[in-house]
Symmetry: C2
Subunit: 296 residues, 2 copies
Amino acid sequence: MEFKEELKKYQDLINEELKKYLRTGECPEKVLNNSMEYSLMAGGKRLRPILMVNVCQIFSGQYQNCLPFAVAMEMIHNFSLIHDDLPGIDNDDFRHGKQTNHKKFNEATAILAGDGLLNYAYQVIANDLIKETNLQLQKQKMSAFKELADATDRMIAGEYVDTEFEGKPISSDYLEYMHNNKTGALLKASARIGAIIANASEEDLNKITKYAEIIGLTFQIKDDILSVVGDEKILGKPVGNDEKRGKCTYVTKYGLERAQEMLDELTKEAIEITKTYNEKGAFLENLAIYIQTRNK
Amino acid sequence: MEFKEELKKYQDLINEELKKYLRTGECPEKVLNNSMEYSLMAGGKRLRPILMVNVCQIFSGQYQNCLPFAVAMEMIHNFSLIHDDLPGIDNDDFRHGKQTNHKKFNEATAILAGDGLLNYAYQVIANDLIKETNLQLQKQKMSAFKELADATDRMIAGEYVDTEFEGKPISSDYLEYMHNNKTGALLKASARIGAIIANASEEDLNKITKYAEIIGLTFQIKDDILSVVGDEKILGKPVGNDEKRGKCTYVTKYGLERAQEMLDELTKEAIEITKTYNEKGAFLENLAIYIQTRNK
Protein backbone atom coordinates (compact mmCIF):
# COMPACT_ATOMS: atom_id res chain seq x y z
CA MET A 1 0.00 0.00 0.00
CA GLU A 2 1.17 3.51 -0.77
CA PHE A 3 2.08 5.50 2.37
CA LYS A 4 -0.57 8.15 1.69
CA GLU A 5 -3.22 5.45 1.39
CA GLU A 6 -2.05 3.77 4.57
CA LEU A 7 -2.01 7.09 6.41
CA LYS A 8 -5.54 7.78 5.19
CA LYS A 9 -6.64 4.30 6.29
CA TYR A 10 -5.27 4.97 9.76
CA GLN A 11 -6.85 8.44 9.88
CA ASP A 12 -10.21 6.94 8.96
CA LEU A 13 -9.77 4.31 11.66
CA ILE A 14 -9.07 6.95 14.31
CA ASN A 15 -11.92 9.17 13.12
CA GLU A 16 -14.37 6.25 13.21
CA GLU A 17 -13.15 5.38 16.69
CA LEU A 18 -13.51 8.97 17.91
CA LYS A 19 -17.04 9.15 16.51
CA LYS A 20 -18.09 6.35 18.86
CA TYR A 21 -17.39 8.66 21.78
CA LEU A 22 -19.26 11.74 20.54
CA ARG A 23 -22.15 12.79 22.74
CA THR A 24 -25.04 13.69 20.52
CA GLY A 25 -28.11 13.38 22.75
CA GLU A 26 -30.32 16.20 23.99
CA CYS A 27 -29.16 17.65 27.31
CA PRO A 28 -28.69 21.04 28.96
CA GLU A 29 -24.96 21.00 28.08
CA LYS A 30 -25.59 20.14 24.42
CA VAL A 31 -23.67 23.18 23.14
CA LEU A 32 -20.66 22.22 25.26
CA ASN A 33 -20.75 18.74 23.71
CA ASN A 34 -21.03 20.31 20.27
CA SER A 35 -18.00 22.49 20.93
CA MET A 36 -15.96 19.48 22.09
CA GLU A 37 -16.98 17.65 18.92
CA TYR A 38 -16.22 20.72 16.79
CA SER A 39 -12.57 20.78 17.84
CA LEU A 40 -12.12 17.02 18.06
CA MET A 41 -13.42 16.49 14.53
CA ALA A 42 -11.89 19.64 12.97
CA GLY A 43 -9.56 17.65 10.75
CA GLY A 44 -6.33 17.14 12.63
CA LYS A 45 -3.67 14.83 11.24
CA ARG A 46 -4.18 12.23 14.05
CA LEU A 47 -0.42 11.82 14.20
CA ARG A 48 -0.31 10.76 17.87
CA PRO A 49 -2.96 8.02 17.80
CA ILE A 50 -1.66 6.76 14.44
CA LEU A 51 1.84 6.47 15.86
CA MET A 52 0.42 4.57 18.85
CA VAL A 53 -1.63 2.21 16.70
CA ASN A 54 1.22 1.45 14.31
CA VAL A 55 3.73 0.80 17.10
CA CYS A 56 1.24 -1.52 18.80
CA GLN A 57 0.80 -3.34 15.47
CA ILE A 58 4.57 -3.72 14.98
CA PHE A 59 5.09 -5.35 18.37
CA SER A 60 1.92 -7.41 18.79
CA GLY A 61 0.44 -7.83 15.31
CA GLN A 62 -2.77 -6.03 16.32
CA TYR A 63 -3.86 -2.61 17.52
CA GLN A 64 -7.35 -3.17 19.01
CA ASN A 65 -6.04 -3.21 22.57
CA CYS A 66 -4.68 0.31 22.36
CA LEU A 67 -7.68 1.99 20.68
CA PRO A 68 -9.15 3.54 23.87
CA PHE A 69 -5.73 5.05 24.58
CA ALA A 70 -5.50 6.32 21.00
CA VAL A 71 -8.85 8.06 21.51
CA ALA A 72 -7.77 9.47 24.89
CA MET A 73 -4.51 10.73 23.41
CA GLU A 74 -6.30 12.58 20.61
CA MET A 75 -8.75 14.10 23.11
CA ILE A 76 -5.86 15.38 25.21
CA HIS A 77 -4.08 16.77 22.16
CA ASN A 78 -7.24 18.64 21.17
CA PHE A 79 -7.81 19.94 24.71
CA SER A 80 -4.33 21.48 24.52
CA LEU A 81 -5.04 23.12 21.16
CA ILE A 82 -8.30 24.68 22.40
CA HIS A 83 -6.62 26.16 25.47
CA ASP A 84 -3.51 27.30 23.54
CA ASP A 85 -5.72 29.24 21.15
CA LEU A 86 -7.57 31.10 23.96
CA PRO A 87 -7.37 34.92 24.12
CA GLY A 88 -5.47 34.56 27.43
CA ILE A 89 -2.76 32.46 25.76
CA ASP A 90 -2.05 32.63 22.00
CA ASN A 91 -5.26 34.43 20.99
CA ASP A 92 -5.51 32.62 17.64
CA ASP A 93 -8.60 32.94 15.45
CA PHE A 94 -7.99 30.04 13.07
CA ARG A 95 -6.77 26.46 13.21
CA HIS A 96 -6.95 23.79 10.48
CA GLY A 97 -8.48 26.56 8.34
CA LYS A 98 -11.48 26.80 10.68
CA GLN A 99 -12.40 29.21 13.44
CA THR A 100 -10.85 28.33 16.77
CA ASN A 101 -13.21 27.05 19.47
CA HIS A 102 -13.61 30.36 21.32
CA LYS A 103 -14.28 32.22 18.05
CA LYS A 104 -16.87 29.67 16.92
CA PHE A 105 -18.50 29.40 20.37
CA ASN A 106 -17.28 31.74 23.12
CA GLU A 107 -14.46 31.94 25.61
CA ALA A 108 -16.29 30.30 28.54
CA THR A 109 -17.38 27.41 26.33
CA ALA A 110 -13.85 26.97 24.95
CA ILE A 111 -12.31 26.86 28.44
CA LEU A 112 -14.84 24.24 29.52
CA ALA A 113 -14.61 22.29 26.23
CA GLY A 114 -10.85 21.96 26.80
CA ASP A 115 -11.41 20.89 30.40
CA GLY A 116 -14.09 18.49 29.22
CA LEU A 117 -11.86 16.82 26.63
CA LEU A 118 -8.97 16.42 29.07
CA ASN A 119 -11.28 14.80 31.58
CA TYR A 120 -13.13 12.72 28.98
CA ALA A 121 -9.79 11.15 28.04
CA TYR A 122 -9.50 9.79 31.57
CA GLN A 123 -13.12 8.65 31.59
CA VAL A 124 -12.36 6.59 28.50
CA ILE A 125 -9.36 5.05 30.22
CA ALA A 126 -11.19 4.38 33.50
CA ASN A 127 -13.93 2.56 31.59
CA ASP A 128 -11.41 0.56 29.61
CA LEU A 129 -9.44 -0.43 32.71
CA ILE A 130 -12.54 -1.64 34.53
CA LYS A 131 -13.73 -3.70 31.56
CA GLU A 132 -10.37 -5.39 31.00
CA THR A 133 -10.57 -9.03 32.13
CA ASN A 134 -7.03 -10.03 31.11
CA LEU A 135 -5.06 -9.21 34.26
CA GLN A 136 -1.69 -8.98 32.49
CA LEU A 137 -3.09 -6.61 29.90
CA GLN A 138 -4.85 -4.65 32.63
CA LYS A 139 -1.49 -4.14 34.30
CA GLN A 140 0.00 -2.90 31.02
CA LYS A 141 -2.95 -0.52 30.68
CA MET A 142 -2.30 0.90 34.15
CA SER A 143 1.27 1.63 33.04
CA ALA A 144 -0.08 3.21 29.87
CA PHE A 145 -2.42 5.36 31.97
CA LYS A 146 0.58 6.60 33.94
CA GLU A 147 2.51 7.33 30.73
CA LEU A 148 -0.40 9.40 29.45
CA ALA A 149 -0.89 11.38 32.67
CA ASP A 150 2.83 12.05 33.07
CA ALA A 151 3.19 13.14 29.44
CA THR A 152 0.20 15.46 29.71
CA ASP A 153 1.79 17.02 32.78
CA ARG A 154 4.95 17.65 30.75
CA MET A 155 2.94 19.05 27.86
CA ILE A 156 1.23 21.57 30.15
CA ALA A 157 4.62 22.54 31.63
CA GLY A 158 6.04 23.03 28.12
CA GLU A 159 3.10 25.19 27.14
CA TYR A 160 3.67 27.28 30.26
CA VAL A 161 7.37 27.77 29.44
CA ASP A 162 6.39 28.77 25.90
CA THR A 163 3.98 31.36 27.31
CA GLU A 164 6.36 32.74 29.93
CA PHE A 165 9.25 33.22 27.56
CA GLU A 166 7.32 34.61 24.59
CA GLY A 167 9.07 37.71 23.36
CA LYS A 168 12.15 37.07 25.52
CA PRO A 169 15.51 35.73 24.30
CA ILE A 170 15.97 32.18 25.60
CA SER A 171 18.88 29.76 25.58
CA SER A 172 18.91 26.74 23.28
CA ASP A 173 18.59 24.59 26.43
CA TYR A 174 15.31 26.28 27.26
CA LEU A 175 14.10 26.07 23.66
CA GLU A 176 14.78 22.33 23.70
CA TYR A 177 13.17 21.89 27.14
CA MET A 178 10.09 23.73 25.98
CA HIS A 179 9.67 21.62 22.83
CA ASN A 180 10.59 18.31 24.47
CA ASN A 181 7.70 18.94 26.80
CA LYS A 182 5.17 20.89 24.73
CA THR A 183 5.27 18.82 21.53
CA GLY A 184 7.59 15.95 22.36
CA ALA A 185 5.97 14.49 25.46
CA LEU A 186 2.67 13.40 23.88
CA LEU A 187 4.36 12.02 20.75
CA LYS A 188 6.80 10.04 22.86
CA ALA A 189 4.00 8.78 25.10
CA SER A 190 2.01 7.73 22.03
CA ALA A 191 4.82 5.49 20.83
CA ARG A 192 5.54 4.18 24.32
CA ILE A 193 1.88 3.41 25.06
CA GLY A 194 1.64 1.47 21.78
CA ALA A 195 4.70 -0.55 22.82
CA ILE A 196 3.57 -1.02 26.44
CA ILE A 197 0.13 -2.29 25.43
CA ALA A 198 1.87 -4.62 22.96
CA ASN A 199 4.07 -5.87 25.81
CA ALA A 200 7.21 -5.00 23.82
CA SER A 201 10.65 -5.83 25.20
CA GLU A 202 12.68 -3.23 27.12
CA GLU A 203 15.01 -2.90 24.12
CA ASP A 204 12.17 -2.29 21.69
CA LEU A 205 10.58 0.19 24.10
CA ASN A 206 13.84 2.13 24.25
CA LYS A 207 14.32 2.12 20.47
CA ILE A 208 10.80 3.27 19.79
CA THR A 209 11.13 5.96 22.48
CA LYS A 210 14.23 7.27 20.69
CA TYR A 211 12.41 7.27 17.35
CA ALA A 212 9.51 9.21 18.86
CA GLU A 213 11.84 11.73 20.50
CA ILE A 214 13.43 12.40 17.15
CA ILE A 215 10.19 12.85 15.23
CA GLY A 216 8.89 15.06 18.05
CA LEU A 217 11.84 17.30 17.36
CA THR A 218 11.58 17.15 13.55
CA PHE A 219 7.87 17.85 13.81
CA GLN A 220 8.61 21.03 15.73
CA ILE A 221 11.46 22.16 13.50
CA LYS A 222 9.26 21.63 10.43
CA ASP A 223 6.46 23.56 12.15
CA ASP A 224 8.81 26.46 12.77
CA ILE A 225 10.00 26.36 9.15
CA LEU A 226 6.43 26.28 7.82
CA SER A 227 5.55 29.22 10.09
CA VAL A 228 8.00 31.27 8.02
CA VAL A 229 7.93 29.86 4.48
CA GLY A 230 4.61 27.95 4.46
CA ASP A 231 1.59 28.69 2.28
CA GLU A 232 -1.18 30.27 4.39
CA LYS A 233 -3.90 28.68 2.25
CA ILE A 234 -2.47 25.19 2.62
CA LEU A 235 -1.54 25.64 6.29
CA GLY A 236 -4.94 27.05 7.20
CA LYS A 237 -3.33 29.59 9.55
CA PRO A 238 -1.43 32.85 9.16
CA VAL A 239 2.30 32.76 8.38
CA GLY A 240 4.85 34.97 10.17
CA ASN A 241 3.02 35.11 13.52
CA ASP A 242 5.96 33.62 15.45
CA GLU A 243 8.26 36.44 14.40
CA LYS A 244 5.64 39.12 15.03
CA ARG A 245 5.21 37.83 18.58
CA GLY A 246 8.95 37.60 19.11
CA LYS A 247 8.65 33.86 19.62
CA CYS A 248 11.88 31.96 19.92
CA THR A 249 11.78 29.10 17.39
CA TYR A 250 14.34 26.85 15.68
CA VAL A 251 14.26 29.25 12.74
CA THR A 252 14.64 32.48 14.73
CA LYS A 253 17.37 30.77 16.82
CA TYR A 254 19.41 28.93 14.15
CA GLY A 255 18.27 30.48 10.88
CA LEU A 256 16.30 28.79 8.12
CA GLU A 257 19.22 26.97 6.52
CA ARG A 258 20.59 25.39 9.71
CA ALA A 259 17.07 24.47 10.85
CA GLN A 260 16.55 22.62 7.54
CA GLU A 261 19.88 20.81 7.97
CA MET A 262 18.92 19.74 11.50
CA LEU A 263 15.60 18.48 10.18
CA ASP A 264 17.30 16.38 7.49
CA GLU A 265 19.95 14.93 9.80
CA LEU A 266 17.43 13.96 12.46
CA THR A 267 15.09 12.39 9.92
CA LYS A 268 17.99 10.19 8.74
CA GLU A 269 18.59 9.10 12.32
CA ALA A 270 14.91 8.19 12.80
CA ILE A 271 14.92 6.15 9.60
CA GLU A 272 17.92 4.15 10.78
CA ILE A 273 15.86 2.97 13.76
CA THR A 274 12.91 1.96 11.59
CA LYS A 275 15.21 -0.04 9.26
CA THR A 276 15.96 -2.44 12.12
CA TYR A 277 12.30 -3.57 11.92
CA ASN A 278 12.55 -4.36 8.17
CA GLU A 279 9.21 -4.22 6.34
CA LYS A 280 7.33 -3.87 9.65
CA GLY A 281 9.05 -0.50 10.11
CA ALA A 282 8.11 0.82 6.66
CA PHE A 283 5.21 2.94 7.88
CA LEU A 284 7.32 4.64 10.56
CA GLU A 285 10.05 5.29 7.98
CA ASN A 286 7.56 6.94 5.67
CA LEU A 287 6.05 8.83 8.61
CA ALA A 288 9.43 10.37 9.40
CA ILE A 289 9.80 11.43 5.76
CA TYR A 290 6.23 12.73 5.73
CA ILE A 291 6.94 14.94 8.76
CA GLN A 292 10.11 16.18 7.07
CA THR A 293 8.49 17.03 3.76
CA ARG A 294 4.89 18.01 4.65
CA ASN A 295 3.60 21.40 3.56
CA LYS A 296 0.94 21.69 6.27
CA MET B 1 -13.92 15.33 70.53
CA GLU B 2 -15.78 18.52 69.71
CA PHE B 3 -16.89 18.69 66.07
CA LYS B 4 -14.83 21.83 65.38
CA GLU B 5 -11.73 20.10 66.74
CA GLU B 6 -12.41 16.99 64.70
CA LEU B 7 -12.98 19.07 61.58
CA LYS B 8 -9.70 20.90 62.21
CA LYS B 9 -7.92 17.57 62.73
CA TYR B 10 -9.24 16.35 59.38
CA GLN B 11 -8.34 19.64 57.67
CA ASP B 12 -4.80 19.36 59.01
CA LEU B 13 -4.61 15.78 57.79
CA ILE B 14 -5.66 16.77 54.27
CA ASN B 15 -3.34 19.80 54.23
CA GLU B 16 -0.39 17.65 55.32
CA GLU B 17 -1.26 15.11 52.67
CA LEU B 18 -1.53 17.78 49.96
CA LYS B 19 1.83 19.24 50.97
CA LYS B 20 3.50 15.94 50.06
CA TYR B 21 2.51 16.53 46.46
CA LEU B 22 3.71 20.14 46.10
CA ARG B 23 6.45 20.63 43.55
CA THR B 24 9.01 22.94 44.99
CA GLY B 25 12.19 22.25 42.99
CA GLU B 26 13.89 24.59 40.53
CA CYS B 27 12.61 24.15 36.96
CA PRO B 28 11.58 26.30 34.01
CA GLU B 29 7.90 25.96 34.98
CA LYS B 30 8.51 26.96 38.62
CA VAL B 31 6.00 29.82 38.50
CA LEU B 32 3.33 27.47 37.16
CA ASN B 33 3.99 25.13 40.09
CA ASN B 34 3.81 28.10 42.46
CA SER B 35 0.46 29.12 41.03
CA MET B 36 -0.92 25.59 41.42
CA GLU B 37 0.28 25.60 45.03
CA TYR B 38 -1.14 29.09 45.60
CA SER B 39 -4.68 27.98 44.81
CA LEU B 40 -4.41 24.50 46.30
CA MET B 41 -3.20 25.85 49.65
CA ALA B 42 -5.36 29.01 49.69
CA GLY B 43 -7.37 27.81 52.67
CA GLY B 44 -10.36 25.91 51.35
CA LYS B 45 -12.61 24.00 53.75
CA ARG B 46 -11.49 20.59 52.37
CA LEU B 47 -15.09 19.44 52.58
CA ARG B 48 -14.81 16.86 49.79
CA PRO B 49 -11.70 15.00 50.94
CA ILE B 50 -12.90 15.16 54.57
CA LEU B 51 -16.20 13.59 53.58
CA MET B 52 -14.32 10.87 51.69
CA VAL B 53 -11.96 10.15 54.55
CA ASN B 54 -14.73 10.00 57.17
CA VAL B 55 -16.92 7.71 55.07
CA CYS B 56 -13.96 5.39 54.46
CA GLN B 57 -13.34 5.37 58.22
CA ILE B 58 -16.99 4.54 59.00
CA PHE B 59 -17.05 1.49 56.72
CA SER B 60 -13.52 0.12 57.12
CA GLY B 61 -12.15 1.58 60.35
CA GLN B 62 -9.30 3.32 58.50
CA TYR B 63 -8.83 6.00 55.87
CA GLN B 64 -5.23 5.51 54.64
CA ASN B 65 -6.33 3.62 51.53
CA CYS B 66 -8.35 6.56 50.21
CA LEU B 67 -5.80 9.34 50.83
CA PRO B 68 -4.50 9.54 47.23
CA PHE B 69 -8.11 9.91 46.08
CA ALA B 70 -8.73 12.57 48.72
CA VAL B 71 -5.76 14.50 47.34
CA ALA B 72 -6.93 14.02 43.75
CA MET B 73 -10.44 15.17 44.66
CA GLU B 74 -9.16 18.37 46.26
CA MET B 75 -6.93 19.06 43.24
CA ILE B 76 -9.91 18.69 40.92
CA HIS B 77 -12.06 20.93 43.12
CA ASN B 78 -9.36 23.61 43.02
CA PHE B 79 -8.90 23.28 39.26
CA SER B 80 -12.60 24.04 38.89
CA LEU B 81 -12.36 27.11 41.14
CA ILE B 82 -9.41 28.54 39.19
CA HIS B 83 -11.20 28.17 35.86
CA ASP B 84 -14.55 29.43 37.22
CA ASP B 85 -12.85 32.60 38.39
CA LEU B 86 -11.27 33.34 34.98
CA PRO B 87 -12.19 36.57 33.13
CA GLY B 88 -13.81 34.42 30.42
CA ILE B 89 -16.17 32.82 32.96
CA ASP B 90 -17.06 34.51 36.30
CA ASN B 91 -14.30 37.13 36.25
CA ASP B 92 -13.86 37.10 40.03
CA ASP B 93 -10.98 38.94 41.71
CA PHE B 94 -11.15 37.35 45.16
CA ARG B 95 -11.68 33.91 46.69
CA HIS B 96 -11.12 32.82 50.30
CA GLY B 97 -10.21 36.49 50.92
CA LYS B 98 -7.24 36.24 48.58
CA GLN B 99 -6.66 37.29 44.99
CA THR B 100 -7.85 34.73 42.48
CA ASN B 101 -5.17 32.86 40.54
CA HIS B 102 -5.33 34.99 37.39
CA LYS B 103 -5.16 38.22 39.45
CA LYS B 104 -2.18 36.98 41.48
CA PHE B 105 -0.39 35.53 38.45
CA ASN B 106 -1.90 36.12 35.01
CA GLU B 107 -4.58 34.64 32.81
CA ALA B 108 -2.36 32.25 30.84
CA THR B 109 -0.84 30.91 34.04
CA ALA B 110 -4.27 30.47 35.64
CA ILE B 111 -5.61 28.53 32.65
CA LEU B 112 -2.58 26.23 32.73
CA ALA B 113 -2.58 25.94 36.53
CA GLY B 114 -6.18 24.70 36.35
CA ASP B 115 -5.27 22.27 33.58
CA GLY B 116 -2.24 21.20 35.58
CA LEU B 117 -4.23 20.47 38.74
CA LEU B 118 -6.87 18.49 36.86
CA ASN B 119 -4.20 16.39 35.23
CA TYR B 120 -2.10 16.08 38.40
CA ALA B 121 -5.12 14.48 40.10
CA TYR B 122 -4.99 11.66 37.56
CA GLN B 123 -1.23 11.34 37.87
CA VAL B 124 -1.72 10.78 41.60
CA ILE B 125 -4.30 8.09 40.86
CA ALA B 126 -2.22 6.39 38.15
CA ASN B 127 0.73 6.16 40.54
CA ASP B 128 -1.44 4.82 43.33
CA LEU B 129 -3.06 2.20 41.07
CA ILE B 130 0.28 0.90 39.85
CA LYS B 131 1.72 0.65 43.35
CA GLU B 132 -1.29 -1.23 44.75
CA THR B 133 -0.34 -4.85 45.34
CA ASN B 134 -3.66 -5.96 46.88
CA LEU B 135 -5.62 -7.00 43.77
CA GLN B 136 -9.05 -6.67 45.41
CA LEU B 137 -8.24 -3.15 46.61
CA GLN B 138 -6.76 -2.32 43.20
CA LYS B 139 -10.07 -3.27 41.65
CA GLN B 140 -11.93 -1.00 44.09
CA LYS B 141 -9.51 1.79 43.22
CA MET B 142 -10.25 1.37 39.52
CA SER B 143 -13.95 1.83 40.34
CA ALA B 144 -13.06 4.87 42.41
CA PHE B 145 -11.07 6.26 39.47
CA LYS B 146 -14.16 5.90 37.29
CA GLU B 147 -16.33 7.60 39.93
CA LEU B 148 -13.95 10.54 40.02
CA ALA B 149 -13.68 10.93 36.24
CA ASP B 150 -17.45 10.63 35.75
CA ALA B 151 -18.16 13.14 38.53
CA THR B 152 -15.67 15.62 37.12
CA ASP B 153 -17.38 15.31 33.76
CA ARG B 154 -20.69 16.16 35.43
CA MET B 155 -19.11 19.06 37.30
CA ILE B 156 -17.82 20.58 34.06
CA ALA B 157 -21.25 20.12 32.45
CA GLY B 158 -22.89 21.85 35.44
CA GLU B 159 -20.47 24.74 35.22
CA TYR B 160 -21.28 25.06 31.53
CA VAL B 161 -25.03 25.15 32.20
CA ASP B 162 -24.44 27.79 34.90
CA THR B 163 -22.50 29.88 32.37
CA GLU B 164 -24.94 29.47 29.52
CA PHE B 165 -27.99 30.40 31.54
CA GLU B 166 -26.51 33.29 33.49
CA GLY B 167 -28.89 36.21 33.32
CA LYS B 168 -31.69 34.12 31.78
CA PRO B 169 -34.76 32.85 33.61
CA ILE B 170 -34.49 29.07 34.05
CA SER B 171 -36.89 26.41 35.27
CA SER B 172 -36.45 24.77 38.67
CA ASP B 173 -35.59 21.57 36.78
CA TYR B 174 -32.64 23.32 35.16
CA LEU B 175 -31.58 24.94 38.42
CA GLU B 176 -31.54 21.53 40.07
CA TYR B 177 -29.73 19.93 37.13
CA MET B 178 -27.10 22.64 37.23
CA HIS B 179 -26.43 22.26 40.94
CA ASN B 180 -26.63 18.47 41.00
CA ASN B 181 -23.81 18.54 38.51
CA LYS B 182 -21.79 21.64 39.38
CA THR B 183 -21.65 21.23 43.16
CA GLY B 184 -23.33 17.90 43.80
CA ALA B 185 -21.32 15.57 41.60
CA LEU B 186 -17.96 15.93 43.36
CA LEU B 187 -19.50 15.80 46.84
CA LYS B 188 -21.42 12.67 45.93
CA ALA B 189 -18.34 11.09 44.37
CA SER B 190 -16.32 11.93 47.50
CA ALA B 191 -18.70 9.95 49.70
CA ARG B 192 -19.01 7.12 47.18
CA ILE B 193 -15.24 6.80 46.71
CA GLY B 194 -14.78 6.61 50.49
CA ALA B 195 -17.35 3.81 50.58
CA ILE B 196 -15.98 2.01 47.51
CA ILE B 197 -12.42 2.00 48.82
CA ALA B 198 -13.81 0.72 52.15
CA ASN B 199 -15.58 -2.06 50.25
CA ALA B 200 -18.93 -1.01 51.77
CA SER B 201 -22.07 -3.01 51.05
CA GLU B 202 -24.45 -1.97 48.27
CA GLU B 203 -26.96 -0.81 50.91
CA ASP B 204 -24.41 1.37 52.68
CA LEU B 205 -23.20 2.77 49.37
CA ASN B 206 -26.77 3.77 48.51
CA LYS B 207 -27.40 5.35 51.91
CA ILE B 208 -24.21 7.34 51.86
CA THR B 209 -24.92 8.42 48.29
CA LYS B 210 -28.28 9.77 49.42
CA TYR B 211 -26.65 11.59 52.34
CA ALA B 212 -24.11 13.20 50.00
CA GLU B 213 -26.80 14.21 47.52
CA ILE B 214 -28.64 16.00 50.28
CA ILE B 215 -25.65 17.85 51.67
CA GLY B 216 -24.65 18.79 48.11
CA LEU B 217 -28.00 20.48 47.86
CA THR B 218 -27.91 22.09 51.31
CA PHE B 219 -24.39 23.31 50.63
CA GLN B 220 -25.62 25.09 47.51
CA ILE B 221 -28.75 26.52 49.13
CA LYS B 222 -26.64 27.85 52.02
CA ASP B 223 -24.17 29.31 49.50
CA ASP B 224 -27.01 31.11 47.76
CA ILE B 225 -28.32 32.41 51.10
CA LEU B 226 -24.87 33.62 52.15
CA SER B 227 -24.47 35.34 48.78
CA VAL B 228 -27.36 37.58 49.81
CA VAL B 229 -27.18 37.91 53.60
CA GLY B 230 -23.55 36.89 54.33
CA ASP B 231 -20.84 39.09 55.81
CA GLU B 232 -18.33 40.06 53.11
CA LYS B 233 -15.47 40.17 55.60
CA ILE B 234 -16.17 36.66 56.88
CA LEU B 235 -17.00 35.25 53.44
CA GLY B 236 -13.89 36.73 51.83
CA LYS B 237 -15.85 37.58 48.69
CA PRO B 238 -18.37 40.25 47.67
CA VAL B 239 -22.03 39.80 48.57
CA GLY B 240 -24.86 40.46 46.12
CA ASN B 241 -22.93 39.45 42.98
CA ASP B 242 -25.44 36.74 42.04
CA GLU B 243 -28.28 39.23 41.83
CA LYS B 244 -26.18 41.81 39.95
CA ARG B 245 -25.36 39.16 37.36
CA GLY B 246 -28.96 38.04 37.13
CA LYS B 247 -27.92 34.58 38.35
CA CYS B 248 -30.73 32.18 39.08
CA THR B 249 -30.20 30.81 42.59
CA TYR B 250 -32.36 29.12 45.23
CA VAL B 251 -32.88 32.55 46.78
CA THR B 252 -33.78 34.40 43.59
CA LYS B 253 -36.03 31.45 42.61
CA TYR B 254 -37.80 30.62 45.90
CA GLY B 255 -37.13 33.65 48.08
CA LEU B 256 -35.01 33.79 51.21
CA GLU B 257 -37.61 32.33 53.57
CA ARG B 258 -38.49 29.27 51.48
CA ALA B 259 -34.81 28.65 50.74
CA GLN B 260 -34.10 28.59 54.48
CA GLU B 261 -37.01 26.18 55.02
CA MET B 262 -35.69 23.85 52.31
CA LEU B 263 -32.25 23.99 53.91
CA ASP B 264 -33.66 23.02 57.32
CA GLU B 265 -35.88 20.20 56.01
CA LEU B 266 -33.08 18.67 53.95
CA THR B 267 -30.62 18.86 56.83
CA LYS B 268 -33.10 16.92 58.98
CA GLU B 269 -33.31 14.27 56.28
CA ALA B 270 -29.49 13.96 56.10
CA ILE B 271 -29.28 13.60 59.88
CA GLU B 272 -31.79 10.74 59.83
CA ILE B 273 -29.40 8.79 57.61
CA THR B 274 -26.40 9.44 59.87
CA LYS B 275 -28.40 8.28 62.94
CA THR B 276 -28.54 4.76 61.50
CA TYR B 277 -24.75 4.56 62.00
CA ASN B 278 -25.03 5.51 65.71
CA GLU B 279 -21.85 7.07 67.14
CA LYS B 280 -19.93 6.25 63.95
CA GLY B 281 -22.23 8.67 62.11
CA ALA B 282 -21.72 11.54 64.58
CA PHE B 283 -19.23 13.41 62.42
CA LEU B 284 -21.49 13.30 59.36
CA GLU B 285 -24.42 14.48 61.49
CA ASN B 286 -22.39 17.44 62.72
CA LEU B 287 -21.14 18.07 59.20
CA ALA B 288 -24.70 18.41 57.94
CA ILE B 289 -25.44 20.89 60.76
CA TYR B 290 -22.19 22.73 60.04
CA ILE B 291 -23.16 23.18 56.39
CA GLN B 292 -26.60 24.39 57.47
CA THR B 293 -25.33 26.92 60.00
CA ARG B 294 -21.95 28.08 58.61
CA ASN B 295 -21.37 31.78 58.02
CA LYS B 296 -18.72 31.34 55.32
